[in-house]
């Protein structure tokens, strides 16, 4: 019997489920190993009998908590995929603002019609067994996690910062180029993909375990950046994690 898997989405851009579709031929191989019983984005059928639930997106309102709890009840293993589900992600950028004024900016006088609270990762509501980080997730990383789970193993996640991968890729350090980068405190596993493309690390995989902030602060000062600049960049993806610290 092939394990039954299901995909669900909450507040997010569905870019992570798109990466699953983007597996292309490998998707066919994967479909040989598992039975997909629910995936609203690509199939009409829906069945609540599943062992592994992949969840994309943040929880941003009370009414979505019941749906999450039901998924937890149905599944043996819950996997958070993508930054929004795993760490709160870019949605938590609005947590720094007054919620009522945020609603008013978008919906004007009709703001009261729409319910919303601070954006949060799904482990703020239900226990999560495994994480696939990134905005969007990396396809290889996703396959690695799925393979580990199918073999009954806990997927390994890097516990070192993006700088380690970036150095290995022989990139010129963003700080050396005069740009502010969150790589020193961000969890690796992306192969420093953004810096490789000529930009900076934005922090989408969230804080690495035990981030060395003092060293990061020294780097900031050495290159003439201010703490405000650092806080500004941290807000992009670390909002929920920062609030919890």
């Amino acid at each position: 019997m092939k394990p039954k898997v299901a995909f669900f989405d909450f507040a997010g851009c569905e870019g992570d489920q798109l990466q699953v579709a983007n597996l292309e031929e490998e998707l066919l191989t994967l479909l040989g190993q598992v039975e997909v019983v629910a995936f609203r984005e690509v199939m009409k059928e829906h069945n609540d009998n599943y062992e592994i639930a992949f969840i994309e997106g943040s929880c941003t309102r009370l009414q979505d908590e019941d749906r999450l709890k039901q998924i937890r009840k149905n599944a043996k293993i819950v996997v958070a995929i993508g930054s929004c589900a795993a760490i709160g992600g870019i949605n938590s950028l609005r947590n720094y603002k007054d919620l009522e004024s945020v609603k008013k900016t978008v919906y004007g006088e009709n703001a009261k019609l729409f319910d919303s609270y601070a954006a949060r990762p799904i482990d703020a509501i239900i226990p999560v067994d495994a994480y696939v980080y990134g905005c969007p997730i990396d396809r290889e990383d996703f396959l690695h996690v799925v393979k580990s789970l199918l073999l009954g193993k806990k997927p390994e996640t890097p516990t070192y910062p993006v700088c380690v991968e970036c150095k290995k890729n022989e990139n010129i350090c963003a700080f050396e180029r005069g740009q502010f980068c969150v790589g020193p405190v961000t969890r690796a596993g992306c192969n420093s993909c953004c810096v490789n493309e000529g930009t900076i690390c934005w922090g989408c995989r969230g804080f690495v375990d035990n981030p060395n902030e003092n060293a990061h602060k020294e780097v900031l000062i050495k290159y003439g950046f201010t703490v405000d600049e650092a806080i500004g960049k941290f807000k992009l993806y670390f909002g929920w994690q920062e609030a919890k610290r």
Binding site: V42, I90, N91, T199
Partner: protein, 436 residues
């Protein structure tokens, strides 16, 4: 089946991006209620970008949508560049056009192959087709992968692009990479024709339906407008992008977290069909042939033909990408320094960026203060511009199918919604069908 009572309640329409609901109530053969609503959780991007710096907005607003992240990045960059009074090089414009083709191709192929084809083949998803029609599925996957390779090559990633930055690119492909891509595009033309033939054999499964509406799309005298152009309405003519608010009048509908929009009628339509209706003459030669083969000629008022318009645009995307690479090669690709970051003089201002993305015309409008901090933002998304049109189409379509079974009514309405290829993540910056 006459005079029947039917309640159709499709909660979370499947095979669309995001959550939308259809609710229909028929009493004694009379439609009492027909509603399209969007329950997706709202995301408040316009509020999120206030207070953020000009060099971050494209990164943040890209996250409005995973499927059209390149389009959002480009609309965002164009708005920022307009506000700062920046112009970018001809070469960068061509590369951005390639990036946009990559995304449109990826999105259209995914929609046609994964989301629409199952309806035409009478199955619930593409998964059973992988056993019954493996060669066709593999062809679709191959074309989809090639479109993704193209985005990857130009943008450094398929979703949430990295290389697209204010003033140009942080990194560009080499001419060798581009000419290799061109070869792959050329080699795929027979596969494209095979997909077109497949749809030709199934096109009669789309309902014969017509409801006159207004179409809005970008237009350009020299090419099939996608990256840039004037706003064109099939009712009122053209205007520059900065006058977008005169076209897209957004309003709040209490049952939807997504806003709706209208222009001179009760609704209008954006997307591939709107573009084709307005810009048919500027399609590439093979795309025009494809359109003619399906007898898809302006003005087509059948929304189901939006699917075929997407197919025509796929052919156009391949042909036009080949043309763009030819031009880049003929002009000689100018190299740029590694980790390139254009020098930009930040100033206060307001700018609008309009781009045609897979589902239609997209507007970003930003105001910056003298420090380059965003003080006001407005994003008008294609799917929001289609919501009113979807509901009015449903209302017009129902009498045509009212004597059919509940199951058939449900499927027809779902197919209608899918034909618009709605992108509800975008829209709430939806599709469920509730029949009661």
């Amino acid at each position: 089946m006459k005079n029947q009572n039917i309640e159709v309640a499709v909660h979370h329409v499947t095979r669309v991006e995001g959550h939308g609901n259809i609710y229909v109530n028929i009493q004694k053969g009379v439609v009492e209620k027909c509603e399209w609503s969007i329950p997706e959780a709202p995301r408040f991007f316009e509020a999120m970008v206030e207070g953020r710096s000009w060099n971050e907005l494209h990164h943040i607003t890209s996250r409005i949508c995973g499927i059209c992240s390149i389009g959002h990045s480009l609309a965002s960059l164009k708005a920022t560049e307009a506000a700062m009074g920046l112009t970018i090089s001809e070469q960068d414009i061509k590369l951005r056009k390639l990036a946009l083709h990559g995304e449109n191709l990826q999105s259209h192929i995914l929609h046609l192959g994964f989301l629409v084809l199952p309806d035409l083949m009478g199955v619930g998803s593409v998964i059973p087709l992988a056993s019954t029609n493996l060669p066709e599925v593999k062809t679709v996957l191959r074309l989809h992968r090639l479109a993704n390779e193209m985005s990857n090559l130009v943008c450094g990633r398929t979703t949430h692009p990295q290389r697209l930055i204010p003033g140009g690119f942080s990194k560009i492909p080499t001419i060798k990479e581009l000419t290799e891509l061109r070869k792959k595009l050329q080699d795929s033309i027979p596969s494209l024709q095979a997909v077109a033939e497949l749809f030709k054999s199934l096109v009669d499964k789309f309902p014969k339906f017509r409801r006159e509406t207004e179409f809005i799309a970008l237009t350009d005298p020299n090419e099939y407008a996608l990256y840039d152009g004037l706003i064109a309405s099939s009712d009122t003519g053209t205007a520059p992008a900065r006058e977008y608010l005169a076209f897209a009048n957004e309003y709040v509908v209490p049952r939807s977290t997504a806003k709706w929009a209208k222009h001179v009628r009760e609704s209008y339509m954006v997307g591939a069909l709107a573009r084709l209706n307005i810009n048919y003459k500027r399609l590439s030669p093979m795309a025009r042939e494809t359109s003619d083969k399906f007898n898809l000629l302006p003005m087509c008022h059948n929304p189901f033909m939006n699917n075929i318009a997407q197919l025509v645009e796929v052919v156009h995307g391949f042909e036009d990408s080949i043309r763009l690479i030819n031009e880049l090669e003929a002009a000689g690709l100018q190299s740029q320094p590694e980790y390139y970051k254009p020098e930009i003089k930040v100033k206060a201002g307001q700018g609008v960026g309009a781009v045609e993305v897979p589902r239609g015309i997209l507007f970003h409008d930003y105001t910056y203060n003298a420090k380059g901090v965003c003080t006001k933002a407005n994003c008008i998304i294609p799917t929001n511009q289609n919501h009113a049109n979807i509901e009015l189409d449903m209302k017009a379509l129902l009498p045509q199918v009212i004597d059919k079974s509940q199951k058939e009514i449900e499927l027809t309405l779902e197919m209608l919604v899918r034909a618009y290829d709605p992108c509800i993540s975008c829209s709430t910056h939806a599709v469920k069908v509730n029949f009661t």
